[in-house]
């Protein structure tokens, strides 16, 4: 063979040279084997890392719908004009050629001159666009430089949120301009503004990856994350799965081409039990009380626990968080008195006041209280050394009269007579002091004495206070709604339900709907039907009787049953500084369909502040029923 012929010859020098060449070529082959075959993965990863930029594309967020499919939170297309810098490279070169000074330049100076040339080109394009859109646009040099150095692979946003007129102008005049392109970006939009804002929650800017997502991206397109409420708790379902695209860039970082590696999966829709019309009625009813009303309304279906409306005032507009919360809006949201971010229906502890007499009634009637037995009310009652005033006029009271006049004397006397243990037992069956597991992350549990607490320094004064819904207990309006529902539905203590189901945005895709069924009954009151009937009649009387404290809630055509309450809010030195007023009710008497609980902070009395609000809500409910009855609602869904 060619090579070894030489090796065999008696020519040591040539043989040495042959070996030298052989070894040299062998070395090269070994080196190439090492680089190209053994280290292939390493180098191809390097190559990919330097020439690909990964971009996170957020998925389209799912909607939040009401029971009838009306959107409470949806996405609104937002049109932006972006500038693709790589298409201006010829312009950059020309401008640089034009301004380039003669002779050699120091490196730093040349770089800044080049950057200046690029800025002028881009600025010209932007100014032309401004003229076309008839809107002054300003391109900040620093901002441009920032984008150029850090995000060259992405288009540079020039103007966001075009108006329809500007869109038309853009299409007419600028659409052919090099580098400019119209881009669509879905933005979160709450079509009803403040409506159900607390329930829905809000979004904040957050581009980071969710837990089971690709963690590393070179660039991330703007994305949001739900903070509280439904947006927060169901964020994972709503946000969908972000996709990834890769942008091939050249050595200068300009975009060369791009392709989508994984498309984003749109988020799912969350369907609530809320009925938009009822929710709106509840909120507007609350607003009639005054401009800065602090209060809450819960409307519940007493048979299955579906929350039809859950309003809290004052409210806020979750749209202010998109695209960014402004300073003024933030200040209003953090107002120390109004505290608009608090969902007062579930997130704040309140003394129930006289509406707690419903629990007293349950306990005492079950323990043997004769409703016909009359008690003399002197206008006050002395418990220990403390005098409790009775707002009910002095006189003789049986159960019905005591209930509708809300006589403190009657209920304290009977509460002490039949024992606090019975009251606490009923409270436990109502699960007072426990959360309702509402999926909004906005719930407090309230507080309620346990049987154990009664054995440790519990005084008759405490019992007296408990009987009138003051002192060592706290409740939320939602808990009171559950309590009222139990009276209305014959003793079932329900789990309130807010979310009906989670369904795919595209109905054609495979069915991945998650239904949240009604949970089994949480507890039974375990009282006789007669007791419940007595209380229901008493509640009816509270609204319909001429003497009743809740007269203002009466609605013609709907027999409303209710109980008013006014609790004193005391400071640390036991001075009364405010009142919490209540109206807990259901309707109609014969066949209860709605539970409405109204709570207003700082109202004059339950009957004066809350009953009229409830009345407006019932009126709206009635109107809606009549309307739907005349013409079946097309949006209604069967379950």
């Amino acid at each position: 063979m060619l090579i070894f012929d030489q090796l065999k010859k008696n020519d040591p020098q040539l043989r040495a040279i042959t070996w030298g060449v052989l070894i040299g070529l062998g070395l090269l082959l070994a080196g190439l084997w090492w680089v190209q075959v053994i280290s292939y993965r390493h180098y191809s990863e390097n190559q990919r890392a330097q020439s690909f930029r990964t971009v996170r594309i957020p998925a389209i967020r799912g909607k939040i719908l009401d029971h009838n499919g009306a959107p409470l939170a949806e996405n609104q297309p937002c049109y932006n004009v972006s500038l693709y810098l790589e298409e201006l490279r010829d312009g950059f070169k020309e401008e640089w050629k034009r301004v380039r000074p003669k002779g050699k330049l120091p490196r730093g100076e040349r770089i800044s001159l080049e950057a200046g040339a690029r800025y002028r080109v881009v600025s010209n394009v932007v100014q032309n666009l401004a003229a076309d859109l008839q809107q002054p646009l300003d391109l900040d040099y620093g901002q441009f430089l920032e984008h150029y150095t850090n995000q060259l692979a992405l288009p540079m946003p020039v103007i966001t949120n075009l108006t329809p007129v500007q869109m038309a102008r853009f299409h007419e005049r600028s659409s052919g301009a090099p580098g400019l392109d119209l881009e669509l970006q879905p933005n979160r939009f709450y079509p009803h503004g403040t409506c159900a804002a607390h329930l829905l929650g809000f979004l904040t800017h957050d581009n980071s990856s969710a837990q089971d997502e690709e963690a590393f991206f070179n660039f991330r397109l703007p994305d949001y994350r739900g903070k509280v409420g439904i947006e927060g708790v169901f964020d994972l379902e709503l946000r969908g799965k972000a996709g990834m695209k890769s942008v091939l860039v050249n050595s200068l970082g300009y975009r060369q081409s791009e392709n989508i590696w994984t498309p984003s999966e749109p988020g799912k829709n969350v369907v609530l039990t809320i009925d938009l019309a009822i929710q709106q009625a509840a909120e507007s009813a609350l607003r009639t009380h005054g401009p800065d009303t602090r209060g809450a309304v819960v409307v519940l279906n007493p048979h299955n626990g579906d929350i039809l409306a859950l309003a809290s005032a004052p409210t806020f507009d979750p749209n202010v968080y998109i695209p960014r919360l402004t300073h003024d809006a933030a200040q209003r949201l953090n107002d120390p008195v109004l505290r608009p971010q608090i969902n007062r229906a579930t997130q704040e502890n309140y003394a129930p006041g006289s509406i707690f007499k419903i629990v007293d009634s349950l306990a005492c009637l079950e323990a043997g209280l004769d409703p016909a037995e009359k008690i003399q009310n002197p206008g006050h009652i002395l418990v220990g050394r403390k005098l409790v005033k009775d707002l009910a006029l002095p006189g003789e009271y049986d159960f019905r009269r005591a209930f509708l006049k809300s006589s403190n004397t009657y209920f304290i006397t009977n509460g002490l007579r039949y024992g606090v243990e019975n009251i606490v037992r009923i409270g436990e069956r109502l699960h007072l002091g426990e959360r309702c597991d509402l999926p909004t992350r906005q719930e407090v549990s309230g507080s309620f004495p346990r049987q154990r607490t009664l054995r440790q320094g519990w005084s008759s004064g405490d019992t007296a206070n408990l009987c009138i819904g003051q002192g060592r207990l706290d409740v939320t309006p939602l808990q009171m709604a559950v309590m009222t529902a139990a009276i209305a539905n014959g003793g079932k203590v329900l789990w309130p339900r807010l979310v009906e189901r989670i369904e795919a945005q595209e109905p054609l895709g495979q069915d991945t709907t998650i239904v949240f069924p009604h949970r089994p009954v949480r507890d039974e009151l375990g009282v006789r039907p007669r007791t419940l009937e007595l209380i229901r009649t008493a509640m009816l009387a509270d609204v319909e009787d001429a003497e009743g404290t809740g007269k203002a809630a009466a609605v013609p055509g709907l027999r409303v049953c209710g109980k008013t309450g006014t609790a004193q809010v005391a400071n640390e030195r036991n001075q009364v500084i405010d009142h919490t007023t209540w109206f807990a009710s259901f309707a109609p008497y014969e066949n209860p369909r709605y539970v409405v609980v109204v709570m207003v902070e700082g109202g004059a009395s339950g009957g004066g502040a809350c009953a009229p609000i409830a009345q407006k809500i019932y009126r709206a409910l009635l109107e809606r029923e009549n309307y739907n009855g005349a013409k079946p609602a097309p949006m209604a869904r069967t379950e």
Partner: protein, 413 residues
Amino acid sequence: MAQNRRRWRALNNMFGSALKERRSNVDWLMLTALGGLMCIGVAFIYSATMANESASLTVWYNQPWFRQIIWYGLGLAAAASLCLVDYHILARWSLVAYGLAILLLLAVFAVGSMRFGARRWIDLGFFLLQPSEFAKLAFIFAMAHYLSRPVDELRLTGVFWKALGLTILPFALIMREPDLGSALILLPVGLTMLFVAGAPVRYLTRLVGGAGILVVFILVDVLYAPPKYQIKLEDYQKRRLLVYFGREALPAAASGAERAEARKQQRNYSYNVEQALISVGSGGLLGKGWRQGTQNALGYLPRAVAHNDFIFSVIAEEKGFLGSVTVIALYSVVLFTGIRIAGQTRDRLGKLLAVGIVAMLFSHVFINIGMNIRLMPVTGVPLPLLSYGGSSVLCSLIAAGILQNVDIYRRSY
């Protein structure tokens, strides 16, 4: 029948050998290998340059791949015409050629044009002549001619030193351009020729040993000595050395900003090597396909060097390890054919010429491919026939022509 056949074979043998006697002598294997290399050269110069918009917009006959074809044509013509004249006759002119080459090298200092911080070219209007390339050939001729004297004379130190001087003169001149790579090629070529000519091995070992010590000393000095005691190298040479040995050219007491600046500079200088390695490595076993390489198309491999000094990266990226092996196989055919010719040549002149050319081609191949995989520091050494460039192509083909000439006119066994 059988008899007939035997007679035919004898006849055939007779004419065949006679025929062989007359045209024995064009080595088709080597020619095929050269042709293969040239085809690869055109294909990948096309691939390396056409990704660039400005190159693809020029008229086709001005595009690099076509110009390269013209150079191949010119080179082949030059090689063929060299083969018309017996190398013994050519060798008589070797000192004249050597003198001319030295003059040209000197002329570079006077009228040479600056490119990339070095003065290596003479602008002839249509062509940038790189005299160092031709100096290599002239040097080989002169050395072969000088060393082809009887072996015994080589034992004389005077002759040895003269031969050394013959090497050092062009070496120093090319070094001054500065063109470290081309200059360094002369050393292994000269040494190999001395060795094959039969110069006493102890002289050579002393020489190599001494040079080695000197190189180590210079390296240690450049890399580790305090600046005051450092030998003055060209800035870029020093940086390249530092890059190769992975060190920062920085005093220990430098401030943070200086350090960052130096690191950035070093990144810039090591950038080519880094990118060449990524190109070669990301090619993998089979490569990404012709014109599918991204390193070059996206400009990571600088466009100024992709089609000349770093053409191998382009080939390796697009054709993978298989492509690299093919290239090396083609070179080895040329190299071993050269060694065969040297071995079969009876006269010392022919043998030395062949060995010198083999040494020169091998050094180019080894240094160039070696620098693509960081086996060698970056020096501007072209890859024979594959790199774009008139001077290099002409010289490589002329060198191949000389090998062929030796093969034709050698006094055979």
